[in-house]
Symmetry: C2
């Protein structure tokens, strides 16, 4: 049988594995021996916390982060293919392959002729889009905006224009710069433009709120160091 | 306490609820009395199948499909807000609010000042993107392509161009036209362009495969009436 590379979602917030992850995630982890991990320490801890009965020391872990040489991962995938062994990819938060190094493993698995099986799980991008009330028939995710103040203002204006023309625009920021991005958004966008903020998703203090820029100007939430997704769109 | 509108994912494939949905989905359904449903019959059956112990006849269902007058949903949301009752939104497949009428309920809930809580679950768009190996840092979903042959060819060329410039392009077709779309894709795109096909996701016969157009020309899968997502991208 062709070996499978499972793309395995993890949690977005601590202590949510048993409520937010599907039984399939635990099941696949309990019968997989090899894992590509963005961070070895947190991945080992995540697998331990699932209490599948497997011993961590019996598992093989390969690092797969942004600095991992592609040649290393290619060789590891080739060996898995050869020996017929399944493997899993686990990233730092949410779904591997979405804005993270997991995509490299999926790509190399396709090139090597391994089967690729993505598992459902929490994605802060998708959760914010669902909760926004915006058009979900046409949307774009742009990752991080430029850091330079002027370039960022230009990027925000372009996103606002696309959002107003009907394509929902989803983007994010490094958590410690969230408040600065919100400041820029309320300053650059028109007062009537709709902004959705999805923050601390799946955590007890999560919130998803869509309001006009004029309303956000009056009451800005503190997003400092809180994982947050932003979306501009129309109703 | 502020009442909450839960956006509740359902399954993509039959008989997968117990493996693919998170415990949270069942938990929220077991303590919610009011549901907005895209299809009353399938939603009632879905809730029954979860065996939460709740009696279907004790629940209130509001239709929310593409022909539902917005004024009806607005009135229902206002009454829920007033009476402090939670409600759930359940669409036909996957995540409500992504390319379906659930977005209207989320929008009206924000306008009425209800809390909005999206729950994690299967999304064929996200699963295909995860499994594609393509850039997940920049992507766009465009829904359905034009039906007219010439307009569709033009749309495909535009998507290919955007994909080659680095933004992964995700789109879909009505299942009975999947083979015709694949035919158009292999005819219109360049031989070296990468196409990912994600079909029957979460079902026993699911597959996610990324190959160059030249390879797809040689062996086209039969996608007729099978729920499928297409993506163009680069490695």
């Amino acid at each position: 049988m062709m070996p499978t590379l499972f793309l395995i979602p993890t949690v977005l917030a601590p202590e949510t594995a048993f409520s937010v992850l599907s039984p399939q995630v635990r099941d696949v982890i309990s019968r997989t021996d090899v894992f590509f991990a963005e961070n070895l320490r947190t991945t080992r801890r995540f697998i331990s916390e699932l209490k599948t009965g497997r011993k961590i020391e019996d598992l093989t872990f390969f690092e797969l982060h942004k600095d991992t040489p592609v040649a290393d991962t290619r060789r590891q995938i080739a060996e898995l293919k050869q020996s017929g062994r399944d493997a899993g990819v686990i990233s730092e938060a949410g779904c591997p392959g979405i804005a993270d190094p997991g995509a490299v493993a999926a790509r190399l698995a396709h090139e090597a002729g391994m089967q690729v099986a993505p598992l459902s799980g929490p994605s802060s991008i998708l959760l914010t889009l669902m909760g926004s009330g915006f058009n979900g028939q046409s949307f774009a995710f742009s990752g991080y905006l430029p850091i330079d103040r002027n370039e960022r203002a230009t990027a925000i204006r372009q996103l606002e224009k696309k959002a107003l023309s009907g394509q929902t625009q989803v983007f994010m920021e490094t958590p410690y710069r969230n408040n600065a991005l919100l400041e820029d958004l309320v300053n650059v966008c028109q007062p009537t433009t709709l902004l959705c903020i999805g923050s601390q998703l799946t955590a007890p203090d999560e919130f998803v709120s869509t309001q006009r820029i004029a309303q956000w100007r009056n009451s800005r939430p503190d997003l400092h160091k809180k994982p947050t997704i932003f979306a501009l769109g129309t109703f």
